[in-house]
């Protein structure tokens, strides 16, 4: 199964396997990555699953839809060029090895 690394606010890395189709938000919650809340449940209606893409096969990421782009303006942590909503990224083989940084919990 493809793997993702969550880089935590305290600097630790947490590497986990996700099943195909599972979103990075769901993977974070299931693996106890505490700072990811996913209040809206993956509808791109809140920005509580905001992450920064740090490395890995970034070219394989899905492009950002308008909803996600607009919602990132609401994120509690600063929006950067590599900001994404983790609920909008579904795991697949091409994304194996992706690294995302989780912002400090607000």
């Amino acid at each position: 199964m493809p793997r993702v690394t969550y880089r935590l606010p305290d600097g630790r890395d947490c590497e986990v396997e996700l099943s195909n189709g599972q979103s990075l938000m769901e993977g974070a919650i299931r693996n106890g990555i505490g700072a990811i809340l996913g209040e809206c449940g993956g509808s791109a209606m809140c920005a509580t699953c905001h992450v920064y893409i740090e490395g890995g096969p970034v070219g394989a990421l899905p492009s950002m839809c308008d909803d996600e782009d607009a919602m990132l303006e609401e994120a509690a942590a600063e929006r950067l060029g590599n900001s994404r909503l983790s609920c909008q990224i579904r795991m697949n083989a091409a994304l194996d090895g992706i690294v995302v940084r989780v912002p400090e919990e607000m």
């Binding site: 599972q22 769901e26 919650i29 299931r30 106890g32 505490g34 809340l37 996913g38 209040e39 809206c40 449940g41 993956g42 509808s43 791109a44 209606m45 809140c46 308008d66 909803d67 782009d69 607009a70 919602m71 303006e73 609401e74 919990e105």
Partner: protein
């Protein structure tokens, strides 16, 4: 003296969990206990009538946190534990076999569906959508079901109708009001959703009332008949005619209730050690009018606010309400509260698949409906927050 300082939360939904998360995040280290009456750990409700019903979201993804998280954060999560009464004199809550002391008591009891006596949820092919168990019942019935009758043209009913059309079932929506979503959106939006559903093959009956329910020997509903005489046959009946707040505990304990647990601007009930948050909470707006809102935004914002109050930062609660619904290829996002308005302005092209409507009262923006138009929605939240700040100054 941990028993005297404990924070006890009745309820284990989104407001309750957010409160626990925010209290710990703010460094409040008092004991926290959540009492939930369902078997499941705390979970998200919005996907229930959307992606979970479609089968796109596995059960575990609905849970806010793993069980271990609650342990690690010293939050006592008690599932299948119904609080039966509050003793305000002794500051305890009573469960079936025990009594638990509280320092502060938070009511996050939510709501329950309004029940139609003729279409009781215990009937084998009748459904009310509130929890995971209800949707699981729907999923077991669906394989043998080719037609669905939805009673009530509100958000839950219409979301269910849209998923059912996506699964190729015949769908009839029965709404007693002359328009859909009449409690929540403007007549213009109602018309838009009527044509959306009709375009996708939903048979929508407006101003339609149930007259008769025909049942078989096993209690199965065979058919329903409307007051105008028209019969509707359906394998599955889904009822979504609104909810009632779970304010009985508060009422029985003698704290004020009025369509929900009545609180002041700091979310405190008439008892200074009892608070209410989320769907069950009737709270004052800036103009003093009390409202009760059923939404993720309301649950989360009130929980965060109360956590700040309990952490020693008491301020009046004020937040811009927002809401969303997904139906077919459309996401409606609502910012603000639409009560009355004297002007409506179209932003964008009304014929287009994405546009917004701004509602004003006395030249001030009160609410914005956005159809597939997240950008306008986000801008509206910010504008309305500024208006609120201006009104407070």
């Amino acid at each position: 003296m941990p028993d005297r300082t404990g924070i006890v939360v009745v309820g284990a939904g989104q407001a309750a969990v957010q409160l626990a998360i925010s209290l710990r995040h703010k460094g409040v280290n008092r004991p926290i206990t959540l009492f939930g009456d369902e078997v499941h750990p705390p979970y998200r409700r919005p996907p229930l009538s959307k992606s979970f019903l479609k089968g796109d979201t596995p059960l575990e993804s609905l849970y806010f946190r793993q069980k271990e998280w609650f342990q690690q954060n010293d939050i006592h999560l008690r599932v299948e534990s119904r609080v039966e009464a509050i003793d305000r004199e002794r500051k305890t809550v009573r469960l079936a076999n025990e009594e638990v002391r509280y320092g502060d008591l938070i009511l996050a009891t939510g709501t329950r569906p309004r029940i139609l006596p003729d279409l009781h949820p215990s009937l084998p092919n009748v459904l009310y959508l509130r929890g995971i168990d209800d949707v699981q019942k729907a999923m077991t019935l669906l394989p043998d079901c080719s037609s669905v009758a939805v009673i009530g043209g509100g958000f839950i009913g219409l979301e269910f109708a849209s998923v059912m059309r996506g699964l190729d079932r015949d769908v009839t929506v029965v709404e007693s009001a002359p328009r859909l979503l009449s409690r929540a959106v403007s007549p213009m939006m109602s018309d838009w959703f009527l044509s959306l559903h009709q375009r996708h093959g939903v048979d929508v009956r407006l101003s339609a009332r149930l007259k008769e329910v025909v049942k078989g020997g096993d209690g199965r509903v065979l058919a329903i008949r409307l007051e105008d005489g028209s019969p509707i046959s359906a394998d599955l009946i889904v009822v979504g005619i609104g909810v009632v707040p779970n304010d009985d505990l508060a009422a029985d304990a003698g704290t004020d209730t009025d369509n929900g647990v009545r609180v002041d601007a700091r979310l405190r009930t008439s008892d200074p050690n009892i608070y209410a948050i989320g769907d069950c909470c009737s709270f004052p707006l800036r103009d003093g009018r009390h409202v009760r809102l059923e939404s993720v935004q309301n649950a989360v914002d009130q929980a965060k606010h109360l956590a700040a109050c309990l952490a020693g930062q008491p301020t009046p609660y004020a937040a811009v309400p927002w809401f969303w619904t997904d139906q077919f290829d459309t996401k409606l996002q609502i910012a603000g509260l639409l009560r009355s308005y004297d002007e409506a302005r179209i932003v964008g092209d009304q014929g287009a698949p994405s546009y917004s409507i701004e509602y004003l009262r006395d030249k001030r923006l009160v609410a914005v409906d956005s159809l597939n138009d997240a950008r306008t929605h986000i801008a509206a939240r910010k504008l309305l927050a500024m208006e609120m700040g201006a009104a407070a100054a």
